[in-house]
């Protein structure tokens, strides 16, 4: 990380501070069996989209659970919004999407959102409005009265995401947010993450899908065997400063040959020329968008385009929202 960027970050108050954070799992007799996280140190700053990467068993889920107060650190310091992770006031500013569905199967989608929203002491009119907007945003409006137990995996991810956002949180923790979602849903989540970050929200993502992390995260840490092995801005980590790329449009074959000759002469290397490709995701989204108008109502998820207005900061009513406690 450059000196300037370090200075920029140091002026922003960290939302999460982990210093020497360690977690040792013990057996029934209190004997240590595994060190899941080993004295890691990192900070997540307000407004950042922060990625937590690593192979299975690297300690990222344990780290997330400590941040959420579900596990207690064995050693080290962990502060969320400057307080202990178990602090109730800190929790009121957090939204969490777990990797697996942790919802009540006997509740309907609408009841689920209303239940979790009620835990934030939201005014009932605001809560109802948010529930409506979130159901619309996640494309589950037509499944609002269906029980969670009947939902497909993709629908579970969507309703899980909706419950994580019901309180318009300042810190959003997403564990494998795109797992189980189709490309349209993945794109929506990525757009949502960018929108939230644009409003100064902090997003912490743990994912195996590196392409997803790459397209939204600004800074990442990569963990392995309980240690942080890489930490930094994504641009810096991925940029290859030894190679340059020029993009030219509407050039004839002769012009391309002339440019290649020039570059060969100047650099002494053989320049590579090819046509840029769309990503498969981009192609899929365009294809689906073309096919979407006039199609029949799907049984599961209806595709919605927009981010819920209260999450985009557009609803003036929501500005009056205040958590009573």
């Amino acid at each position: 990380m450059s000196k300037l960027q370090n200075q920029e970050l140091s002026t922003i108050e960290p939302v999460i501070i982990a210093d020497g954070l360690t977690k040792v799992f013990r057996d029934f007799w209190h004997r240590p069996i595994v060190s899941a996280v080993k004295a890691v140190r990192f900070e997540v700053h307000a407004g950042e989209i922060f990625g937590l990467l690593g192979p299975n068993g690297s300690g990222k889920s344990t780290t997330l659970r400590m941040i959420l107060g579900l596990l207690k650190p064995t050693a080290g310091v962990l502060r969320v919004f400057g307080k202990e992770p178990q602090d109730v006031h800190s929790k009121s500013k957090i939204g969490y999407l777990p990797e697996e569905s942790c919802l009540y199967p006997f509740l309907t989608a609408r009841e689920t959102l209303t239940f979790y929203g009620s835990l934030f002491n939201l005014d009932s009119s605001i809560l109802n409005e948010r529930v409506k907007q979130l159901l619309e945003m996640t494309g589950l409006e037509h499944a609002a009265t269906r029980r969670i137990g009947e939902f497909s995996k993709g629908m579970l991810r969507r309703i899980g995401l909706a419950q994580a956002l019901i309180n318009d949180p300042d810190l959003i923790i997403l564990d494998e947010p795109t797992s189980g979602l189709d490309p349209v849903g993945c794109r929506q989540i990525k757009d949502l993450i960018l929108t939230l970050a644009g409003r100064g929200k902090t997003v912490l993502i743990s994912s195996h899908l590196l392409a997803d992390v790459e397209s939204v995260c600004k800074r990442v840490i990569i963990m392995n065997n309980g240690n942080i092995i890489v930490q930094g801005r994504l641009n810096e980590l991925l940029e290859n400063e030894a190679i340059y790329r020029f993009c030219v449009s509407s050039a004839s074959a002769e012009q391309i040959q002339a440019i290649q000759s020039f570059l060969r002469l100047q650099t002494g290397t053989d320049p590579r020329t090819d046509h840029p490709r769309k990503t498969l995701e981009q192609f899929f989204l365009e294809t689906v968008a073309r096919a979407q108008p006039g199609t029949t109502t799907p049984s599961g998820v209806a595709y919605a385009e927009k981010v819920a207005p209260f999450l985009a900061g557009k609803s003036p009513k929501d500005e009056k929202t205040q958590c009573k406690k």
């Binding site: 659970r65 959420l68 109730v88 835990l119």
Partner: protein
């Protein structure tokens, strides 16, 4: 408070949608409705009603105690096992709010099921008291007899003997004194409840005797010759007593051939029963005490659910429930342990240590469960004994407020300390 109410509403919804309420309600209805057809007694409407009163409330409490314990254990342990608690813990909730909300929700479920059972018992008793073969006057008499509850007045302590205890030889007479100054105003009748054992013990035929009752104003209140069976609880009707200070009951043993001595060995073997209240009002007080017991069992199940996984929690809490239903066994183990004669020389040191461990453990259980012995509606309702409002109030304070509050603090503390996000969970 809103958060507690939200969690409580969730617990109720869970009980409804998981069909726990429906299944238990059907079980209660089936058990109570089928009872008069399963247990016949001697076929008389009186015996049918008495048997119904004796068994129905006990069965209702047994079914609901099981449900309360099981639901209590599941409310926490199942949610931890199925990871719903992982998400709930990340919300701005204190552990006591989760605990109190779930307890409140389950107590509401208990209340609904208990009310259903109580209403059903009441309806069934009225149904059993209106047999087609009886005339209207007979029905009214039966209703008056069965649907009245009594306050038990023990005899005053006699010199040299404890209250109520007596040994009356053939031809001898014994007199008990009852202080009825506070109880007799306006009572239309009273009952003398008694039970004796004969000597020789092998004598099992009815024993003849004369019973006399007198007050200062009514010196010849009653004189009745009665042949009563040994070892059986029997009742003697005493006519209307005008307000008086003392009632004297005298028994003359007329069994001379063969000669039989009658013993009233326990202080509970003879008491005067004075009408105090209607059965329905007494049942209501019994249901209140029953409700407080269910609150205790629910809290106990929740504590087990907070500490252990669901199967272990169910096993542990059902163990406590079994101990609660066998209070005498627990007290015996708490006092004596497993060894009947610990002073015996052949008993090994290990057996002594084990015995002491059992005694200490069961003393703890006996202490923990001691309020259940005191506030037990089954000690009153089958015998048609009056349950005072003060007892229902005390039961509410102890079993529904104090104990659940203590268990709530312990449970919330355990929940707060427990690592909900462990990989094994």
């Amino acid at each position: 408070m809103q958060k507690i109410a939200t969690i409580a509403a969730l617990a109720i919804r869970s009980a409804i949608r998981s069909r726990v309420i429906a299944v238990v309600a059907v079980a209660i209805i089936a058990v109570i409705i089928s009872l008069p057809f399963v247990i016949k007694g001697d076929g008389t409407p009186e015996s049918r009603s008495t048997i119904f009163i004796n068994y129905s409330f006990g069965l209702l409490m047994f079914v609901l105690s099981l449900t309360a314990t099981w639901c209590g254990a599941g409310a926490i342990a199942l949610e931890i096992g199925e990871r719903q608690m992982q998400l709930l813990i990340t919300k701005p909730l204190r552990s006591f709010q989760i605990w109190a909300g779930k307890l409140l929700g389950l107590m509401t479920v208990n209340l609904a099921l208990l009310a259903l059972g109580g209403a059903l018992i009441c309806a069934m008793i009225h149904w059993t008291l209106g047999p087609a073969e009886m005339n209207r006057a007979g029905q009214q008499d039966l209703r008056r007899k069965i649907l009245t509850v009594y306050r038990a007045v023990p005899p005053l302590k006699a010199s040299g003997l404890q209250s109520g205890r007596a040994a009356i030889g053939p031809g001898q007479t014994y007199r008990w004194h009852f202080d009825i100054a506070r109880h007799t105003a306006g009572t239309p009748f009273a009952l003398l409840k008694f039970r004796f054992i004969p000597s020789p013990f092998s004598h099992q035929s009815p024993v003849a005797g004369i019973w006399r009752a007198a007050t200062e104003k009514q010196p010849d209140l009653l004189e009745q010759t009665l042949a009563a069976s040994p070892n059986m609880t029997d009742y003697l009707n005493i006519p209307k007593i005008y307000p008086a200070g003392m009632l004297d009951i005298e028994h003359q043993n007329m069994q001379t051939n063969p000669a039989v001595t009658v013993f009233f060995p326990s202080e509970n073997d003879l008491s005067l029963l004075i009408p105090e209240s209607s059965f329905e009002a007494n049942l209501l007080r019994g249901l209140i005490i029953g409700f407080t017991r269910l609150a205790f069992f629910t809290s106990l199940g929740m504590i087990a659910g907070t500490l252990f996984t669901f199967p272990v929690a169910v096993l542990a809490s059902l163990g406590m429930l079994a101990m609660a239903f066998s209070g005498g066994f627990v007290r015996q183990l708490a006092e004596k342990g497993l060894l009947t004669d610990p002073s015996h020389e052949q008993v090994s040191i290990m057996a002594f240590i084990l015995n002491d461990l059992v005694r200490v453990s069961f003393r703890f259980f006996a202490f923990l469960l001691s309020p259940l012995d005191r506030f037990d509606p089954l000690a009153f309702l089958p015998d048609r004994l009056f349950i005072p409002w003060s007892l229902a109030g005390q039961s509410f304070a102890v079993l529904c407020c104090l104990y659940p509050l203590v268990l709530l603090l312990i449970g919330a503390g355990c929940l707060r300390r427990r690592e909900i996000g462990l990989p094994s969970q």
